[in-house]
């Protein structure tokens, strides 16, 4: 019995400092609070600009590629090849290339993020539109819709679920890649992460990494909510 008690005491003696350490860690992470906020805003601004521009370019591009006609189909294939290659290039290399062409700072980072985000959205827009049954298009045309009305009222609304899935994937990539922007002088939470690594300062590293993770999850939740709101219940599989 005495033995057991002494063991418990020993265990407690081991755990107590840990707790104290966790407290002190939180405190040391918290000291970067203003940096965290400033860099989060900086990073999310880049994500928003790159992501927004990617959606604005990629969706119409996907629509354009889905229209079938001889010359366009050849061009479309070449374009898809280029995009696939772009996807294969590592994000870090993409940043380095952007920096060597556009110099350092914010805009090369935004450009690299934009390129990385483009492909999933184009692919999903194209696939979503291709998956719309021919019968729907025939019915719509036979009822007297113009090609433009068929696209806007039938094809896009029915492809929207798949398009949103592409946007979700794309934005997850962007948020995850964004800390790398620091390496080309774009700022963002990478500043805390990479400096933390370099200085072997664990709290500093976490001060950058935790907000990055939280922001990624929040972005996904936000896009998920938009998907729920904007996509008709009739084409959402699980509802």
């Amino acid at each position: 019995m005495k033995k057991l008690l002494s063991r418990c005491c020993a265990l407690f003696a081991c755990v107590a400092p840990l707790e104290a350490r966790a407290d002190s860690w939180l405190a040391s992470i918290a000291q970067y609070r203003s940096d965290m906020i400033y860099q989060s805003i900086q990073q999310m601004t880049m994500v928003a600009i790159a992501g927004g521009l990617a959606i604005v370019v990629a969706v119409p591009l996907g629509v354009y590629l889905s229209r079938e006609s001889g010359k366009q189909a050849r061009f479309g294939q070449a374009l898809m090849q280029a995009l696939n290659m772009g996807q294969a290039v590592p994000k870090l290399a993409l940043l380095a290339l952007a920096m060597s062409v556009l110099g350092i700072g914010r805009w090369p980072s935004i450009f690299a993020l934009w390129v990385a985000t483009l492909l999933p959205i184009v692919l999903n827009t194209l696939e979503g539109l291709r998956a719309v049954p021919r019968a729907l298009i025939e019915a719509a045309t036979g009822m007297g819709m113009t090609p433009r009305q068929v696209l806007l009222r039938v094809e896009l609304p029915n492809a929207l679920y798949v398009i949103f899935a592409g946007i979700r994937t794309a934005l997850a990539i962007t948020v995850g890649t964004a800390p790398l922007a620091f390496l080309v002088g774009g700022g963002g939470l990478g500043e805390l992460i990479f400096t933390g690594i370099d200085m072997n300062d664990f709290p500093m590293l976490l001060a950058g990494a935790i907000p990055t993770a939280v922001l990624a999850v929040l972005t996904d939740v936000l896009v998920g909510q938009m998907q729920m709101r904007l996509v008709s219940r009739g084409v959402t599989p699980q509802r």
């Binding site: 049954p133 019968a135 729907l136 025939e138 019915a139 719509a140 045309t141 036979g142 009822m143 007297g144 819709m145 113009t146 009305q149 009222r153 039938v154 609304p157 029915n158 929207l160 008709s232 219940r233 009739g234 084409v235």
Partner: protein, 372 residues
């Protein structure tokens, strides 16, 4: 109402035309079924009417106007269109689906909604339940009802239907066909209807156009096509049992005989016996004062009755036909009951005459040369 004048369609590079010189005319309020094996050009012909396919040669007139004169979307908005895959838009509710063409034509939302509710009533779906549903919440049969309602939305005079009931299971298909015929009684549209099912064609059509290899083989009423197929191909296509199929086309009220051979409660037994003798039959139906059959009386029973007949004298009749039944179902109940004749009553249950096997056989007898 719809007139096809020497219509042909030939695709570039193809040796034979898909549709070759079709001439036909469908009157207002008629259902014309385009019938034939797959690849015979019936669907192509249908799609040339709303210019989903552009004819290579020939003219199509709707209500006397050349369809080429119309702006193509204007033309299509004036023609109801139903396809086999139904083609309801999954992203829209039932209400929005029905309102598509009205909205294209610029109706305001409340008017379109009122119309959608009205149409759901017509196709026997409760608007309070179904207006806000999505197509994926509906069964195949319900979806096609909505498909038909959608085609009727702006009350177009002409409807094109491309195997509309082809994807529905046989039991529901019968139901929806009956329903559709009932609706057609009210709306009287001019309908072009593609089918590959001879039974469906016989049931739905006022006229059947039989296609083969892009040519029109025969264009006539269902009865004529069954009774006098123009070629061995058509005879084969409509089937060896075509004489039985004709039974479906005749209603009991059109096959009645010996309407005066009845006895009424209060008549004398002697008069009834005289009637039996005159018509050479073995049984006579006894009617009450309202004209409703009470039962039947045979020669032997009549001999035993003296004076006037009362309802209690009669043996109950084993079966009745209704005057709106088709002969196929009447014959079927005759076979089931083992009887050679059935008394027939109208909707109020009053006796209107007899249907007898002998008379039906007479009616359906074909001229000798056709039977060969």
């Amino acid at each position: 109402m719809i007139k096809l004048s020497n219509i042909s369609k030939r695709y570039e590079g193809a040796s034979a035309p898909v549709v070759d010189g079709i001439d036909m005319e469908v009157g207002a309020g008629e259902i014309c079924v385009l019938l034939g094996p797959s690849g015979c050009g019936k669907t192509t012909t249908l799609k040339m009417i709303n210019r989903l396919i552009q004819p290579s040669a020939g003219k199509i007139f709707i209500d006397g106007r050349d369809t080429d004169e119309f702006e193509v979307v204007e033309l299509r908005r004036q023609i109801g269109y139903v396809i086999q895959q139904i083609g309801l838009f999954p992203n829209m509710t039932v209400e929005e689906n029905i309102s598509v063409v009205p909205r294209l034509l610029g109706w305001d939302k409340t008017k379109a909604k009122r119309r959608a509710a009205e149409l759901l009533e017509i196709v026997a779906l409760d608007p309070s339940i179904y207006l806000s549903r999505y197509p994926k919440d509906l069964s195949g049969g319900q979806q096609q009802r909505v498909g038909v309602a959608r085609a009727l939305a702006t009350d177009p005079p002409v409807m094109l239907m491309d195997e509309p009931f082809g994807a529905i299971d046989p039991i529901n298909r019968e139901l929806i066909q009956d329903e559709f015929l009932r609706i057609q009684q009210q709306v009287k549209k001019t309908i072009m209807f593609v089918s590959h099912d001879i039974d469906e064609a016989v049931k739905m059509a006022d006229r059947i156009a039989i296609f083969r290899g892009g040519r029109l083989e025969q264009f006539d009423t269902p009865d004529t096509i069954l009774a006098r197929p123009a070629s061995p191909f058509i005879a084969g296509f409509v089937g060896a049992d075509r004489a039985l199929k004709r039974l479906r086309l005749v209603r009991a009220k059109d096959a009645l005989c010996a309407c005066e051979c009845v006895a009424r409660v209060g008549d004398s037994s002697a008069r009834a016996q005289a009637l039996l003798e005159r018509h050479g039959v073995e049984q006579i139906v006894l009617l009450d004062a309202a004209g409703k059959p009470q039962g039947s009386l045979g020669v032997a029973e009549l001999r035993e009755i003296e004076g006037t007949l009362i309802a209690a004298h009669a043996k109950p009749v084993s079966g009745l036909a209704r005057h709106s039944d088709d002969l196929r179902s009447v014959i079927s109940s005759m076979f089931a009951l083992g009887q050679a004749w059935l008394p027939t009553v109208d909707d109020e249950g009053r006796f209107v005459g007899y249907v007898s096997q002998a008379h039906i056989v007479d009616m359906l007898r074909l001229p000798a040369e056709v039977c060969a």
